[in-house]
């Protein structure tokens, strides 16, 4: 039908079907493309205008204290940072919790609710790879949320000519803690969102687990500390991502705190639970999407 040769440029009529002869990338490249698109989607980019509002408002509020600190530096000058790098996330944990709870469904519920998951699974990407790529997007989005204030504070500290070695060490520790926290939040919020196609349930469920759970643990820790039963408080701290983060923050960075993990054994336990929780949730996600694929 198109044997008469390639039509010359500028001809309007039907050009006929042209086969694709270019490269076809492998699973790794496909997964990377999915991670990047997912990261953009988590901030509402490439989606409708109103889906950008919530993530960017939350991000702005989250950055506000860091911007204020920068302002103080410019106008007053600083002897030390008024808030520690790692403490920052603990202070803005409610914003972080809402961000993760609200954006996890964007990555994990939408494809299930609208059936578009079928179109992904009918392509070369395996179900498990799809699940991990989605988790990768949420992890990166959470890290953007957690690390951008750390970056602002760090720049402020350097401009304020604070001790570079000390600041770098503190900031690096904050990055490690942020990574642990982001992994566990991604796992928990992702798994809840992947098991609920209704966005509302996922948001409420995640907030309940993260924030309400943390509130309960904090209450137990206060009572335990008051009653002199610190051990109980330390064990209670193992039960939610935020309390695990706070415990390690107290133990490694700042000292003090209500019932921080005492001794190396307990600190290791805190780290292991954070990592184990993340791993378990990611495994749950992989299983969940393999099930979906087999239907």
């Amino acid at each position: 039908m198109t044997a008469s040769g390639t039509p010359s440029r500028g001809v309007i009529h039907d050009l006929g079907y042209r086969p694709y002869q270019g490269p076809r990338l492998g699973e790794g490249a496909i997964a990377r493309a999915l991670v990047v698109t997912g990261l953009r989607n988590a901030f509402g980019l490439g989606r409708s205008g109103k889906s950008k509002v919530l993530p960017f408002v939350l991000l702005a509020f989250n950055l506000l204290p860091a911007v204020v600190v920068a302002g103080i530096l410019v106008f007053v000058g600083l002897e030390e940072l008024p808030i520690g790098y790692a403490r920052y996330a603990s202070t803005t944990q409610v914003l972080l919790g809402i961000f993760v709870a609200a954006q996890a469904p964007v990555l994990f519920s939408r494809d299930l609710r609208h059936g578009s998951i079928t179109l992904y699974l009918a392509r070369p990407l395996r179900a498990g790879t799809y699940a991990l790529a989605r988790a990768g997007s949420l992890l990166l989005a959470t890290l953007v949320f957690l690390l951008s204030p750390v970056l602002i504070l760090y720049v402020v500290a350097l401009l304020g000519e604070l001790d570079v070695v000390e600041q770098t060490k503190d900031a690096a520790l904050a990055v490690v803690l942020a990574l642990l926290l982001a992994l566990s939040l991604t796992g928990v919020a992702g798994l809840i969102a992947a098991c609920s196609t209704r966005r509302g349930f996922a948001v409420v469920g995640t907030i309940a687990v993260l924030l309400v759970g943390n509130g309960l643990v904090s209450a137990v820790q206060s009572v335990a500390s008051f009653e002199g039963a610190d051990g109980v408080g330390e064990v209670a701290g193992l039960f939610t991502p935020y309390s695990l983060y706070r415990g390690l923050l107290d133990a490694w960075v700042e000292g003090g705190g209500v019932t921080p993990p005492s001794g190396v054994g307990m600190e290791v336990a805190y780290v292991l639970v954070l990592v184990g929780l993340s791993a378990a949730c990611l495994a749950g996600l992989v299983v969940r999407y393999r099930r979906v694929a087999g239907r």
């Binding site: 039908m1 006929g16 079907y17 042209r18 086969p19 694709y20 270019g22 490269p23 076809r24 990338l25 492998g26 699973e27 490249a29 496909i30 493309a33 999915l34 698109t37 490439g46 989606r47 409708s48 889906s51 939408r110 494809d111 609208h114 059936g115 578009s116 079928t118 179109l119 992904y120 699974l121 009918a122 392509r123 070369p124 990407l125 395996r126 694929a293 087999g294 239907r295």
Partner: protein, 317 residues
Amino acid sequence: MTAAAPAAGPTTAVVRTEGLTKHYGAVRALEQLSVEIGTGVTGLVGANGAGKSTLIKLLLGLVAPTAGRAEVLGHDVVTAGREVRAAVGYLPEHDCLPPDVSASDFVVHLAMMSGLPRVSARERAAEVLRHVGLAEERYRPMGTYSTGMKQKAKLAQALVHDPRLVLLDEPTNGLDPAARDEMLGLVERIGRDFGIAVLVTSHLLGELERVSDHVVVLDGGRLLRASRTDDFLDATGALLVEVLGEDAQRRMGEALASHGLVVRPRRQLLAIDAAHGRPDLHDLVRDVACDLGVGLVRVQADHHRIEDVFGTRGAAS
């Protein structure tokens, strides 16, 4: 007429199944299916629950067979599912479009999910959206689309990575007659002009007989028939005769039977099995009616509906 197919031997099979079986608990969705599907357009026909979608999911390697095996484009669907999915396009029967994304963005994204680099994905998406006939609306969120536009977007994503085979699960579902004709026209072009093998399902044989070169009929998970569409129509095409007069139907039936014809009453009609191809059948019917003195109301070729195929099977077994 069959220019694309090699002259001798079996045509290069795009799909080949052997004893392919899928049970969901007690439900026998597919039972011992052995079939070969070649290039061109193949219609997969069956009533609701016949196992059409199950076969497609097996061919995509999405569900594991209970027994038997299947090869698509030379790849085993169980051990090489990824190779199969890289070379196959799929239009699912149910909704699969996110409402807040434009067809343009979505098709580009899915092209990348099939491994095309971003720049090529953009080019291909624009091209296939033009081929399926989505114009300016491609930039609108798909939630605002009519059913016809949604089916076109679904078709575009199935074609965007230039597959060698597309599996279209009820692409005409929910379409009005005009949109259905347009969709069937597209299906025909994909198979004939684009050079992509097509397996397209429907529960209406009549709908697919126009566009498909081959037809595979499933019934209750079993293969009822697989043949060229032409053979199919010749073989099942009975001649329907309506006669008028005193006890006319019974007398006419007996007279025709005495000429060695297979005749069955169907409501007020007589269905003559024309499978053995008597070229003088029309003349014979006219003469017999004349001899008997019954009024010949009409003689017409049977409409090839799926029910007739089932009727044939029922009579044969």
